[in-house]
Assembly symmetry: C2
Homo-oligomer: 225 residues x 2
């Protein structure tokens, strides 16, 4: 240890549960585990190299976040969204987007706009390059930054959960429509950002309304049974 700069302090002190949550979430959102597919505990222990207790705790977390589903004595599986579910998520997200704008526009701290600008740039680039995964990520970052404008932690957490559930669907649905949807979105998001930057709430709300997602849905809004 001749170099004093060597960090003897270990910064990473996250528990195996947090690690497992992150890893399992990756498996789900990347589509490695597909919707409806069972997720066995033992399989995760061997894949993550940890024992079952932290895996089980992580699964409880992901059930709460709406990514996993428990069948009482039959284990756990990745949730498979019905069209009614998608409609639930979309409409709720829409309301929360609107709420975030009402809370956050005009923007108090200009620094909050930076992540949105970055996301728009990413969106433009990925859209031009036809990089769909990058586009999804950029879209995610944009909306999370938008929600962050509101400065409401609970809003942000709820929104992130909903967005993860949506991505659960997108990971498997790489059809032409969803790609087209993202490409169109690039311009719309730019317009929305411009409206937000202008500080005019009404204009921003109008841009949000026009930004309309849900184009990948095959049918009209469905009321659940």
């Amino acid at each position: 240890m001749t170099l004093a700069s060597e960090p003897t302090v270990k910064i990473e002190q996250l528990s195996l549960v947090e690690l497992a949550v992150t890893k399992i979430k990756e498996l789900l959102l990347a589509g490695i585990v597909k919707p409806g597919e069972p997720v066995r505990e033992e399989w995760l222990t061997s894949r993550l190299g940890i024992s079952r207790p932290p895996v089980r705790e992580a699964m409880q977390v992901l059930v709460q976040q709406g990514l996993l589903e428990r069948l009482p004595r039959r284990g756990v599986r990745a949730v498979s969204l019905s069209e009614a579910d998608v409609w639930e998520i979309y409409s709720l997200r829409s309301v929360l987007d609107k709420f975030a704008l009402e809370l956050g526009v005009p923007v108090r701290d200009p620094a909050l706009l930076e992540p949105m600008r970055t996301a728009v740039a990413q969106m433009r680039a990925s859209s031009a390059a036809g990089d769909h995964p990058a586009n999804v990520l950029a879209n995610r970052n944009f909306h999370l930054a938008l929600i962050a404008l509101g400065g409401n932690k609970r809003l942000l957490q709820t929104y992130e959960n909903l967005m993860n559930q949506m991505q659960l669907l997108m990971s498997v649905n790489l059809s032409r429509e969803s790609v087209e949807h993202q490409e169109v979105g690039a311009e719309r998001h730019e317009a929305l950002l411009a409206a937000i930057e202008s500080g005019d709430l009404d204009q921003a709300l109008a841009a949000l309304a026009a930004h309309g997602e849900l184009r990948f849905l095959s049918t009209a809004p469905v009321q659940q049974a």
Copy 2:
């Protein structure tokens, strides 16, 4: 066992985790464990008569629901809400109430109104009797029934979590103001229900806006630091 009506089938097949979640939630919402107070695993195991793993899994669930808080290597404690937190919860709840009305008014299934009528009756009775806990419960039932009008499961779950967090505060704050708040609320809730029954969305939204809670807050809305 001469009576054949004796149920040999065990209907209750809920896991110890679910049981622990319910029990711990009761401890928190009843104010037996007060906000900010540490909740030790070993204490729960002896109190609930189960071992640590299910207790730990239950705690993960309650952390996700915003009732418990983890300090990385120092255990878990009941969340203590700041005024900024209360404002977060209130404003978000307000938006979700409004959303539920937009989704659910006019009411499709008249049966959905029944729980609301029951809740209003409970509210009136408990208010007259000065039974504060019963009033809190009735208020809870009313709002959950209102949210159920929307028919959005995710909305309902999110709202229930927020409401539990609020009750976390009320269990300790039995000051005069909060009682007064509930008493006033009885009439307002009646008016809101009447507006909903009329099927006029605008009227219902107006009644919701007038129904105004948050009277127990000592100060004006606070932006978190």
